[in-house]
Amino acid sequence: MSLFKGLMDYLDVRLGVRDLIRQNLTGYLVPRRANFFYTLGAVLLALFSLQFVTGLLLLIHYRPDAANAFASVQSIMNDVPYGWLVRYAHVVGSNIIVIALLLHMLSVLFMASYKKPRELTWLVGFIAFNLALALCLTGYLLPWSQLSYWATTVATDAAGAIPVVGEMTVRFLRGGAMVGEATLGRFFALHVMGLPLLLGAVIGLHLFLMRRAGISRPPFGPDYEPPAPLTTFRHEDHPDGIPFFPHYVTKDLAGVFFFLAALAWVIFFAPVLFIPPTALEPADPFVTPPHIKPEWYFLWAYQTLKIFPSKVVGLGAQGVFMTLLAVLPFLDIGPERRPAHRPLFVACYSLGILLMVALSIWGHYS
């Protein structure tokens, strides 16, 4: 212990670490009633870190060219020691991240934590959500399987519905008329460098905004009252709260380990849950497999495009929905956050979830 104390003394004189720790960990009080959903931020940070590490490891053996990509992934799965574990962790991890992102967003919506003064935190988080989906989409092509190839063909083709510039957008996304070597090159560059850098910066900004405004108090319990409208900046303090470290960190760790356990369960007991049989055949640009479907989190969008008579209208509907979600804090400006006092919002919220689930199931079986 004296060695630890010596090290702390050394750092304290130079960096004031004890003060930093007090301000940000032991003396930083967070809401006492913080529930499981409050841990999802930490869960996502842990899962993104895992994606970064497993992605880095996969890069060692993956070859980003059409002639070798599929074989290199097969080699990772079959020849490289524990390559299967690293790849499954990356594939399953990406799906678990989408689940955690959706839960994070849904809980923030339900508790109306996006309201003033946290509008920008929501907006930046929404951008991060979209970047994560873009990472999923670009990563999907990289194994160069039939599924990768045709799912990317269908996904990029949707952009063709944009009036005037649609065809040019599709060609630009693909780097040519069809999905091919050029598409793989640009998707690879985006997946391993462009998007992760951007996402890292956006997550950093999200955390900064969250820390600056303070963690929002859960809008539950008999003693909760909507706060008075803010006219000047004020960090939301919780004088009756619990210390961030160790109390809140313990809660966060419980959430992180719960999700890691779910990840491990899928890897070891249902490894092909997110890997359909068409993902096991090499890409063939001349043979389209039947019933090609996007990933489960894009099924709602896929089905929306199918049910509208025109692709432009379908794409427009998706655009309107996503834009409404992005700017929701600027439309829903009342101070009330308690779900029981927001019946209209809760009704729309529940119906919206039901609609998304129904569209996804319909898309899956259509």
Binding site: L57, V80, P81, Y82, G83, L85, V86
Partner: protein, 144 residues
């Protein structure tokens, strides 16, 4: 309550030990696959000799090839007399090149020189080039 009889520092020490143990087990469980993933591929036991047609090497000429994953060179000193060496300089690991005019190997990094027997002729290399056995079987050279 029974655990109230324990002083807080003892409980804290116990918890630290338990958490440390669990963390160590989890670290090893996560670290071992990563270590194995990053480990170089094992040779898989016996290494096959390299076969090469003798016609590929002129008298007084050299041919470079890969042996056990690293560069090697086979040389026809005189008609029918073949020798083979690792082409890795024993000084700092650069690859030697064959200088036919001088009939010696030269390491371009720090001018180490080796004879046709692999012996050091000059420069900083501390040891001769590592020799590799060569067998001539008909028109085929079997190296290694």
């Amino acid at each position: 309550m029974a655990n109230d009889s324990l002083p807080p520092n003892q409980r804290r020490f116990f918890l630290t030990i338990v958490l440390g143990g669990i963390s160590a087990v989890l670290s090893v469980a996560a670290g071992w696959p990563v270590f194995r993933f990053l480990s170089p591929a094992s040779g898989g036991g016996e290494v096959k000799p390299v076969e090469m047609p003798r016609a590929k090497i002129d008298v007084g000429g050299a041919q470079f090839f890969t042996y056990h994953g690293s560069p090697a060179v086979v040389l026809q000193k005189s008609a029918g007399e073949f020798v083979a060496f690792s082409a890795v300089c024993t000084h700092l690991g650069c690859i030697v090149k064959w200088i036919p005019d001088k009939e010696e190997f030269l390491c371009p990094c720090h001018a180490g020189r080796f004879s046709t027997d692999g012996a050091v002729l000059g420069g900083p290399p501390p040891k001769p080039l590592k020799s590799i056995p060569v067998v001539l079987a008909g028109d085929l050279l079997r190296i290694g």
